[in-house]
């Protein structure tokens, strides 16, 4: 008989991981159940990494309530969890009087939503804040609280901290059916997965694009997900990191945004087109629209330096543009964190905080554990490490001096650490998300075979079993010739 958890969280995207981390401080047994073989493989992965400030959502919506708060919380979350966060500030660029009217509206929204220090600025100040911003911009909404993160690093850091505090992580466990017993039952929910059943008293649905399916399986609210697909382009590193620059938003999206990343690259994000669920293909038309849109904001952007183009689907609930966070009205004990589209990354810490509140209000006893540790010790990031520490590391283990990924300066020891951490990387892409090996301009042309060999060694598997990403994404068939 499987263990019964107090709480099961379905989905190890940034939302599920943030909730797990928030609840890990309490005396509860928690299990995070993830369909894929790693953290943040859905919408959280295909994301521009912007921590939007919160002037965009219409006042009164759930988004409006969690966005600005989430942005605020990133300060403490990044310190406790040791992930990169840069509060760079941002500008929404306006090019005419009509745009200025929109900017005024955004500023008022922001004020109501609790976004601090918003102001409308003119061309001189625009140029001062970001010299590369288009000289055609006549006005801008200057928002100092906007920030940047690496979205998968946030999710990974949150879940590492949760796991260090006793949370169980089940990967490769897509929920295929949910059995719901009477409300008084100790194990009210039984989740059937290919790797075994998970029983729990309370269930949190943070399944991203799978949230509608989970809700239906549990007999709770019926809703449908719309796959609002976005293409994103990552450009090579620049000598100076660009401040996030937004166009005036459209009714369905924030438009094509240009921003620096925490690693000094430039990202152009994102298109918005409703496509078939699961479609993560890039499209030539979308990529061209991104490059054209970006040049309007930053005319001197060298859009030939594309490192990668990628795409994902925002989990949008059909018929609403809002988040759905709360206890199910149909199935008590089931808590929904559904429709977490944009600004899901920015809101994640506040969604977690709100989920704690919702659960407490529903009568779940939340007793803080004495031994809870909010601090996650981040792995050494060799490239960012001061020289003296680099020498110390190499002295402690020569594998720190063995550079595997030359574009991002990632030594073997950092790759090994990415695999051995809990939860660790199980694929080449998982290694890349944790320590950036293969993230650079050569896109793993030089290091893929070396990373694959380290994975095979660390996981004790054959080279033919090493995966690029999901099950089935084999890299090589096997040996060519027998050794004579």
């Amino acid at each position: 008989m499987a263990e019964t958890f107090d709480i099961a969280i379905v989905g190890a995207g940034i939302t599920g991981c943030a909730i797990a981390r928030q609840l890990a401080r309490f005396d509860l047994s928690i299990c995070v159940v993830e369909a894929a073989n790693d953290i943040a493989l859905g919408a959280s992965k295909a994301n521009g990494g912007l921590v939007h400030a919160g002037y965009d959502p219409a006042p009164g919506t759930v988004k409006a309530q969690v966005n600005a708060r989430g942005c605020e919380l990133y300060g403490t979350w990044s310190q406790e969890l040791g992930f990169l966060f840069c509060r760079t500030g941002s500008m929404v660029l306006g090019f005419n009087d009509e745009d200025r009217t929109h900017l005024e509206q955004l500023r008022r929204n922001g004020h109501v939503n609790g976004v601090p220090e918003l102001s409308i600025v003119g061309p001189d100040r625009i140029h001062e804040l970001e010299p590369r911003a288009s000289a055609d911009a006549t006005c801008a909404l200057w928002c100092p609280s906007t920030g940047l993160v690496d979205p998968f690093e946030v999710a990974i850091a949150a879940l590492e901290n949760a796991v260090a505090n006793g949370v169980t992580f089940m990967r490769s466990a897509p929920v295929e059916a949910i059995e719901v017993a009477g409300s008084g039952d100790d194990a009210r929910f039984t989740l059937a997965t290919p790797v075994g059943n998970v029983r729990c008293r309370y269930l949190i649905n943070a399944a991203g694009n799978g949230a509608a399916d989970i809700s239906h399986m549990a007999g709770a609210e019926k809703f449908h997900m719309v796959w609002r697909q976005g293409n994103i382009v990552l450009l090579d590193k620049e000598p100076r990191t660009l401040m996030p620059l937004y166009p005036v938003p459209t009714p369905v999206s924030k438009g094509v945004i240009v921003t620096g990343t925490v690693h000094g690259n430039t990202v152009i994000t994102a298109t918005a087109a409703v496509r078939e669920a699961g479609d993560t293909q890039t499209y030539a038309s979308d990529v061209n629209a991104l490059l054209t849109g970006a040049r309007k904001l930053v005319p001197d952007l060298d859009t030939r330096r594309v490192v990668r183009a990628f795409a994902g689907g925002r989990p949008v609930i059909q018929g609403t543009n809002d988040f759905f966070i709360g206890q199910s009205a149909v199935v008590p004990g089931l808590f929904q964190a559904a429709g977490i589209q944009s600004p899901g990354v920015a809101s994640a810490p506040a969604i977690a905080e709100r989920m704690e509140y919702v659960i407490r209000k529903a009568g779940v006893a939340l007793r803080e554990r004495a031994d809870w540790d909010p601090i996650r010790r981040a792995p050494d990031d060799f490239d960012r490490t001061p020289l003296a520490r680099k020498e110390e590391l190499i002295e402690s283990d020569p594998a720190w001096g063995q550079i595997v990924c030359r574009c991002e300066t990632v030594p073997e020891a950092e790759i090994v650490a990415a695999i051995r951490r809990r939860p660790g990387a199980v694929s080449v892409e998982g290694v890349k998300r944790r320590c950036r090996a293969g993230m650079g301009r050569c896109q793993s042309g030089f290091c893929q075979s070396r990373v694959a060999a380290i994975l095979a060694r660390e996981l004790g598997c054959d080279p033919s079993e090493v995966l690029l990403e999901h099950t089935g994404s084999w890299l090589v068939e096997g040996p060519l010739k027998g050794v004579r």
Binding site: G264, A284, V306, F310, R406, P463, S473
Partner: protein, 453 residues
Amino acid sequence: MAEFKSSVIDTDAVEAVPTQAFDVVVIGGGPAGMAAALAAHKADARVAIVEREQHLGGILRQCIHPGFGLSHFKQELTGPEYAQRFIDQVHATDIALFLDSMVIGIDSGESTEDAAVHSVTLMSPTGMLQLTGRAVVLAMGCRERTRSEIKIPGSRPAGVFTAGLAQRYINIENLKPGSRAVILGSGDIGLIMARRCTLEGISVEGVYELMPYANGLRRNVKNCLDDFGIPLHLSTTVTRVIGHDRVEAVEVSQVDEHLAPIPGTERVVPCDTLLLSVGLIPENELSVAAGVELDPRTRGAVVDQSLQTGVPGIFACGNVLHVHDLADNVTTESERAGAAAAAYALGCGAGADADAAGPGCELTVSPAGIAGYALPGRITTVGLTKLNFRVRRPVDTARVRILAGDKELFAGKVRPFKPSVMESFPLPAKVIQRALDLGVSEIVLSVDPVEEA
């Protein structure tokens, strides 16, 4: 806004790193680095080679096909054999080798009484080290263009490899990257890999080429495709990658004269592997960090006739300077760079030049017509100067012309030109002098198609 650069170099800490002094520090131990080091050593310089792999030889180690050495050794060798000849020569000298060592920075030269001294910071499993030298030779080679740079749409499954990565899996790791391959790009690496895959039992469905002509050397089209019955589809490119986890197929389309895919010509080719041979890019991140100016056409350094970059004492050669057609030509060029670097280091700078110690001048060289680039980009000495260039498209009849303002200083004979060939052209001293006499600051190397009479 705040800058948050990724590489932190703490200058105080650098001073604590052990230092070794040389005359010439060569970065890269491939064919370019070895030839430069040997030439510098022959000129009596104290030389170091820094190589990030455990072995010398660079990419030649995985180029197990023949075709190397025909001009340099008058003998056909495989890549590893060609490399081994230089490795043996290096080992027979006292050239200092720093293997398994990654250069993390080159400073642009600390001024001293006579000439600047460069310091190269490197790290290896044994720790950090600093090498100093009056001259540095950049010989880091190039990398392959990726799928993203040519913006192939579609999904992102396993099974999309640059040709060089697939070559490494097959020739070094003894691993089979797939069973059915499509190759995009008819550059030499793509052609060589078409044959290699076939020999290893990987079925090659076809080689697809965006341009209306093959991009590799003619001998490779014949030896690697024709002899094995592998089809070459010109004016055709991959327009979509299909498959969620592993490549299941690619969609190919014909392209029009502007290289844009023609709607309605899409065809799905089932395969599990897509190899890309879509160009090489000089790896100049270190050079840029050291203050070296790049030519946007070659993506390598702007150099003068002695292959010195704009930073005094820093020289460049081989594929980090411009992408070569043959390793033999890399060797020849790099010997020049090494000799010039040694002359600079031993003569303590100013004006010391290996072979052409003529009077000084300042001329820039620009390409025109169908010439894609011209190298060197600067001429600072009046003397016989070797010019290199490539044409952007094949022509049966064209000629090289050297222009200064509206004057034609030289016109070569009419002959065919191919983009796959790196052309070499000796510019006589008297032509340079004529340009100077005309009072121009720029000469133009123009390759112009000629209508046949």
